[in-house]
Amino acid sequence: MPTAQANNSSSFFRLSLILAGLFALASLLMAGALYLSVTRNVRERLHEDIRTDALELASLASHSGATALRQAIVQRVDVETPLPRWYGLFTAQGQFIAGNLRWRPPGPGWWHHPIHARRSAADRHPPVHTLTVLALGTAQGELLTVGRDRTYINQLEASYGRAFLGILLVTIGVAVALGALIGRRMLRRVSAMSDTAVAISAGRLSLRMPVGRSGDEFDRIASTVNEMLERIEALLGEVKRIGADIAHDLRTPLTRLRRRLEAARTHPPTDAAALDAMLGEALREIDELLVIFHALLRIARIESGEARTGFVALPLAALLEELADAYAAVADAEGRQLELSVHGEPVVAGDRELLVQALVNLIENAIRHTEPGAHIVLAARRDEHDVVVAVADDGPGIPEAERENVLQPFKRLDRSRHTPGNGLGLALVRAVAELHGARLQLADNDPGLRVELHFPAA
């Protein structure tokens, strides 16, 4: 039998990787959006700065004339700023008039222009800077240029980009690693469970699912399965035991029957009366076997729970009265006394026939296992929470250690081996009690036995 691991090994990994991938994609989108919005903002501010400066100068030219403009440009070129600001003024013919930027754009508008910083001793290969330049025509027909160095922005954009990329890589790495880790962890637990299940179905019923300490879903499944296994193991054990008991209890009368029939063949009875007696005995043996079969089948059907669909409300006063009416005479004929005692108005939900049979079994047990002169009480009362039906006697009782035992099919006390009965009576009572959700309790009646059935009140 192949383990389930081979088929499922990829599923947890796949799931975790898909999740990690989705997580990474989401991070990527977020970082990209952030990057674009930040850089765009910075660029816009640069353009705004240039535009404001240029318009200010153009307006100065139109109000105060060309000379004022030239003076303003010279002044601005002289002002020290961290990054130099660039200006240029050209005549309509293209002649450079003033400023520090000698490059003349072909016409008005936005331009980019690379410049080379002056070579110095410290820096043999100065970087190429890019200028963003706005060119405007002035009122006098001259061409004014205002420029700013983009290098700062380019560096900023590059460093943002690196930072975002770094964060993105770390995020993806962590997501994938976590996904794989969780996937492997889950996979290990599932594999452990499936290996256990395989071993159990191979017959090692005593194995149990591994249960962790965290009490998570896996632990809950594992402990539920373990409870189920516990029950199955108990039931199987019971089935095995009952099987053995059935074999034993049926084999004995079958052997007896076979011996009788064989003897009849080898030594046929000579007279009709003897033959009739022999056949009568054989038929009685067979009937006894059938009774055992019937009782076993009935217990099995009750335990399957199918009778629960036919439950009705049963007023116990009338039911017990009928039983007492039927059995007072029997008890009397056997020298015992049967009394009825009903308090309150006990009603239970149940199957009438099964309840009657369970109570009949208890009453018959009480008659059978007591000495003549014994008192047997058939009682029912309604308590606050439950309805109690009891059959009590003042006979020898059952020792406490044996009480659980006698509820098992075919289990009988050694001292009652000589009394008739097949050992299925109390097993049926127990099955009926379980079907009705009732608690079966064997108690000391001091002296005697008191069998109580505690039903949930209907």
Partner: protein, 229 residues
């Protein structure tokens, strides 16, 4: 009386047919549900014995079909399924009685006789006579030669069951079902105990043979003739 036996197991079928013929019945047989349905609707039978598990058409379906076709002859259903739900199902389908397998042959005969003798409207009859005994269901009184007997409700029901089938055997199982509604076999002598008390009351102060006979191993029979007088 003509009886149709529908049973698929050959040995059981022959055993029932031969036994019933020995009892004086005229018996015909069918070995599956379809044949049973065909024969039952063609011939006039006084009673049917139908196995619950049949090939082609099972016993429940057969009984339902017969009742739907307005066939009113009493039907006894034979079955290995004797738990309450199955029994109720069988009776609801239209069977008149339900007998668990395996059964003693006398049990089948007794039940057939009980059904066969039933008048079409059995509920109408409320008084029964058997020899010197007179039983009135409505007033719940029993008299022997006009003298009222004091019976407990259980003893009354017991006597009623016997007198409804006076002259015929009523089996112990039938009494358990009819008087105590026990569809199981109690291990103690419920029937015997109450029967002996009933007999004591019936025969107290009278000489002559007992009014209720024991048919050893099978059941009881109340004498229909007036032997008690």
């Amino acid at each position: 009386m003509r009886i149709l036996v529908v049973e698929d197991d050959g040995e059981t079928r022959d055993w029932i047919a031969r036994g019933l013929e020995e009892e004086g019945y005229h018996v015909e047989t069918a070995d599956d549900g379809h044949e049973g349905l065909f024969m039952a609707t063609q011939g006039a039978y006084d009673a049917l014995v139908v196995d619950r598990m049949l090939p082609k058409l099972d016993g429940l379906g057969l009984v339902k079909a017969l009742r739907a076709a307005d066939l009113r002859a009493p039907i006894i259903m034979l079955t290995a399924l004797t738990e309450t739900p199955q029994r109720v199902e069988g009776l609801n389908a239209g069977a008149d009685d339900y007998l668990g397998k395996p059964f003693a042959f006398t049990e089948l005969v007794a039940r057939l006789q009980a059904l066969g003798r039933r008048p079409p409207l059995a509920a109408v009859q409320t008084t029964f006579d058997a020899g010197p005994l007179h039983l009135d269901v409505a007033s719940r009184t029993v008299t022997r030669n006009g003298e009222t007997l004091d019976l407990t409700p259980t003893e009354f029901r017991l006597l009623e069951s016997l007198m409804r089938h006076a002259g015929k055997v009523v089996t112990r199982t039938m009494l358990l079902e009819q008087v105590w509604h026990f569809h199981f076999d109690p291990r103690t002598s419920v029937v015997e105990t109450h029967m002996s008390r009933l007999r004591a009351k019936l025969d107290r102060g009278w000489n002559g043979p007992e009014l209720i006979e024991t048919v050893r191993g099978y059941g009881y029979r109340v004498r229909a003739d007036s032997a008690g007088e």
